[in-house]
Symmetry: D3
Subunit: 294 residues, 6 copies
């Protein structure tokens, strides 16, 4: 095999690629010692959180009543340490080279992580209502345990509830990575900014999209393929969308939305409404109304 | 960095979380030595099964005609051992602390696993018809080999056929984990309880849902986004759905169902019928009928 | 536990399975020393490519301006080596036992891989336009960096652009594995044969299907659940679909296609057209036309 | 490459090797479900024990005063589970096919493991005296911590003290594996059957051999290359050594033995004796005597 | 933290190191596609060989009489593939850039590996005599099984016997790596060129050295710290030792050599001789003679 | 299986162990965020250093003349990052809780690591003289390459030379871990404080001990089992050895020391002296003198 130009060809490619790197925003140069968000560690953090919230169901440990506090203790502390580093990485993620103060960011990350960890008992309580809701929604569910270890809906909602707490504490990027991890696994895409009440249930779930400014009440049920999206959004003079405008639906308590319904814009779906499958909804729906495809 | 309350804050969280654990069904205490279903080992079992069913295509082994029986031999035995443990874990999964007899469950798991392994040749033969059907369904398919190693439809059907055998043998939870693994990878959600004939083909597949009591004939073709679901289900006096009622469609031989069709309830789609994309079907379709969106 | 027939039962299964293996195309016997495509190595190759295209965002390295050329250099060379082996495996994948010339295939793989690597700078430039397009499409996007590390749309498009280059160089099977890897992660199924222009954006993306013979212009935006599929295809006298016939849509510049639209057949969607969600399109759409569900 | 006989050659080797297997004691056929001792799990068990005995020095955990009980709790329980399985495997190791009662062996393993775990506090206390003795023996030692994390002598003694407890509880094979693991790492070969007092110190240690029936008092110091061996041993009528006869030295309190001394046979080295390096000792040494090479 | 010169300092170091690389023989430039010996793969190959030679004792497989041939079959084939690559790497190791013919080396490696594999049954038979000899040598040995899974002497002899076969087939470097792996684990350093008869036993073994041109008869026993070395060696005009001259001892049948004896030069230790511990032997020893330190 | 007291027994053990932990110096409580030396990362750092010093021989990379600078560049930077963290951990290792200033220690670690990295070219040059010396010492050595990849002597000397640089920069604990890693692998125990000249060669090496205050000239050769140790050492009023006193031998240029010689105390072995095997030396040896056992 004779490959005369191989080495020089490769060298040319390397030089070209290096030359392209200053291209705006396609290269993330590391600032001195700054950490970078790690998908692998986020994955482990979520696994650890699941083993804290649902002890015995996750984490490979033979936990029992006597040893439960030891496991919770070790896992909470381990989670704190892992998450602190990731939140710290998140805080560094988009900052400019000039204004970086690593020590200050590390302290801020400490405060955020501690606040988050203190919310874990509350997250556990809300997730209990979600498990119950999913059990009531699906005749195929044999037990709460089956839902906890195998239902993608619960998996997506768990990630969302974790991510939403971090979002409320103004952690950059990390919440989005957490919900995207669930999106990849389940096909359910819930933006961490959405606000969702108790007893929330999703069945099957592939293709569900819940946008950033959605507000969802208690006891809402959603099936696969449902979109709660924006209808349109204003752009600025550079044709860049204006951030932070309310543009997704408000879903009131006890609403049921069947498969592949598409609900768009800042509209209100009233209490106890039922939205049929494959529908296309861009206007308010009254309380107790039932909307089906004709 | 001064964090006076850190240790005590963490301790409070640990105590709170421990205190919440008796909450009904959110904690799975390990009974003496009882195994727990392992997603990682189930994943390896499925990989191993694929290397048994499609030798040379999976399993990284340089198997050839001379060494084929050695590979099948080692892999079948390894699969038996791995699966035995998981079936055993499945049998322990929901049982009450009072009535657990580990040795009896281990023997029952042995019997189930042996029965399952004896079905492997039949599973292989049915899967061959599925591969052929998928080859005939897709002009983009260059060879059987391409389907075997890269088509998500075949992946989902393989997991389903394995899970369905274990479901028929009344293995708890494990079949569901197997189909959910395929669901996570492919976006195709087939309940292990569904009954599906030969030469079954799914193309693309993301968003497909096939419910627990579906009955599907031979030579049926399905595209992405198709739901074969329940329209409604009766609940008992506690508002809990009644289990085990037939509530999903019956699809007869040679039916084709195009993308995003939604077919709900215990209805019958007759032989040779064609269901167009994005349709919403809640009533019987006659044999040879073609239903399209207008 | 008494299991008299266990060993002989297992032996029977092994013999049966071995006996079934000559079954046409369900067994891939290894030819002397021939490599087989490896999903694990393909996965690592894609990760490596991402760390070359978006340095600092992927690859766990603390790369900075001084060390950038070293990292690009090492990674390009590592990618070349890994990919060469996989392209070689792809060339061996479907060939017959009689006509195999491993050394010739290895040389051809060298040429293909070198050609591919030389395209990396161009791929990087096109992906920059895709990142920009996605930033402009989504009010929830906080920065280019967020899109690069967390948006499934970009992940799917990156895999597609890599796979498409290899497809153009007539690499068998490998491009399909690459796009299926993205399909599994994101629910977005783009065939490597499709031709797609610059500034292509997909949001959310679960359920998107883009067929083998699609042609997509510049600056096109697509939402979740959109199918660009075939309406029907001719079969030969054995009922096998005829390969390579143009059967998917042509989408012109600046088109927007909203969630769950289904567009089928070799039709043309004209420039600046807007296709509403949940629509079913099987005929040409004129430039600037807007098609919505009624 | 033409390799006509390759497949048949390999097949011949396989058949020959299989045919040789009934050879007495060179093949260990697995009895139904019986576990086999695992070097990897033993290694993890020893690591875990070290993290229990020297918390914060081993185990990668950021343990502090508040979280210490959680870590000890989780680790003791994990150790119990891992060791139980290994002790069980040890009990099965040499038993005949006829008389195997797996359930009885599993219970016996439970009892042994529990007895062992109850000795952990006492093992910790004795090891503290060993660390102190090593600190006093070596001017190069900067702190107790340095000894704990880097001295091979302590590593070998720790493994010995663990193995000796299991040996006293009549666990087959496992204690030997534990001391051989230390032998491989440190070159210090202490038989688990030896009896060794408190404040035992070994410096450097490579080549040290301490035989099965040695008895060593308190406060003994040993350097590299020292053998405490047998001089000869009686054999039975089949020329097989008779097991269990006292044949190794007795070393009294406060003895120092310098590098490469060889001490053989059931002799007594009296209190406070000093044995010089490279000596060859086969007779009793009086208390307070100093023996050096001339 | 202000580190102005960091980047330029590092760059200087990189340039200096790069500049030093042409230094004769301290840099191994990769020739096109040439493999390099891998310690990790050699380690796996040795593990695999042990599982072939002592089935059930190594390899984590639950092998029994029925499944034995499958395991041997798969493992022999896997070993062949792994070793072929390593032997090939060995053949490339020292060759000059000008004369490299990779394809020819690959074929030569094939022939060597096949010859080696055909010797496996004979290696197994000799190792059986070694296990027996070690059992007869040590009163502490409870069973053949204990020797097989835990005695470092057997581990070193196994590696030696494998390496010696490859050495006889003129494989470069690989045999040395194999014996050095045993040296690292056991402290027993046997050169692959030494010739050693049946029923060879080493007890404890740390510090044993057996030189390249040693010839050892049948039924020889050796203890820890024994050196069978060269006394001196001639050098050429560049002060480089002349290779391949016989310079190590010849040990006849039934000799016993006790701990730390040093035997140097091409001398003969006659049949049935006994060499005492810590002795220094540089002249022939007569048959049946006993040499002890005075 | 009835195990009434199991849980309470385990709990008692946990409480006892926790209670013992305040025991002086047997528990290392983590101070806020402080890193701890990691054996695994040190191992990787040493591997990385070897791939920098001997490119192409270590590190699995297919480095060639064109790509050499990229590999050196990436590896030097990676080493800097890994080592910085470990040096930082070393600086924290023994410090008291009161006086810890993590940020200052991190900066000091930066300075030490940078100074170390700047020494790499010099270390490479000295190691070249060691490789040459070993090649000249051993008739069995076929090439420099064989020494570089398989000789334990070179491995131990490489670790020593790295550790000694860090020792000179007053890094706590880390240098000791590095030499102990070599000790475990090779049985050669060189204290990082020893001072050793160029062209240093060790053959076989198991059992070699070189003490903290040794001074060794250029061109010295040492065989297995050689001890360069202390004869005695003064203790303070608490019976603790006084640190830092010169107590090991000085070996002048061109000395050869044969197997198992023991040389003790602050004595001088003069230039060109030859020390025979198994000798016991506690007094000065004159230049050119030859000392052999009688």
């Amino acid at each position: 095999m004779k490959n005369k130009n191989y080495a020089s060809d490769i060298k040319t490619v390397i030089d070209e690629l290096t030359g392209l790197c200053p291209t705006e925003n396609m290269f993330h140069p590391n600032k001195e010692g700054e950490p970078f968000p790690s998908r692998a560690i986020m994955k482990d953090s979520i696994k650890l959180t699941r083993s804290i919230l649902f002890p015995g169901f996750f984490g490979n440990a033979s936990v029992n009543k006597t040893t439960l506090p030891y496991h919770i203790g070790v896992n909470v502390e381990k989670l704190f340490t892992m998450l602190w580093e990731q939140v710290y990485a998140g805080l560094c993620f988009d900052c400019k080279e000039e204004d970086i103060d690593l020590e200050a960011k590390r302290e801020k990350a400490f405060t955020i992580t501690l606040s988050f960890v203190k919310q874990l008992p509350r997250i556990k309580e809300v997730l209990r209502t979600d498990v119950e809701a999913m059990y009531k929604m699906d005749p195929a569910a044999k037990s709460y345990g089956e839902i906890i270890i195998s239902y993608p809906g619960l998996r997506a909602i768990t990630n969302y509830r974790i991510a939403h707490e971090l979002h409320k504490l103004q952690t950059p990027i990390i919440p989005r990575i957490i919900t995207e991890m669930a999106h990849a696994e389940t096909g359910i895409d819930i933006h961490p900014g959405a606000r969702i009440g108790e007893s929330f249930a999703i069945d099957h779930g592939t293709g569900v999209v819940i946008g950033e400014t959605c507000i969802i009440g208690n006891n809402v049920r959603i099936y696969q393929g449902v979109t709660l999206g924006a209808k349109s959004f204003p752009v600025d003079e550079n044709n860049i969308p204006i951030k932070g405008i309310d543009r997704h639906p408000i879903i009131k308590d006890n609403v049921i939305i069947y498969a592949s319904a598409t609900i768009l814009g800042r509209i209100i779906i009233g209490e106890n409404a039922v939205i049929g499958g494959n529908t296309w909804i861009t206007e308010d729906v009254q309380p107790n109304e039932k909307v089906f495809i004709k």
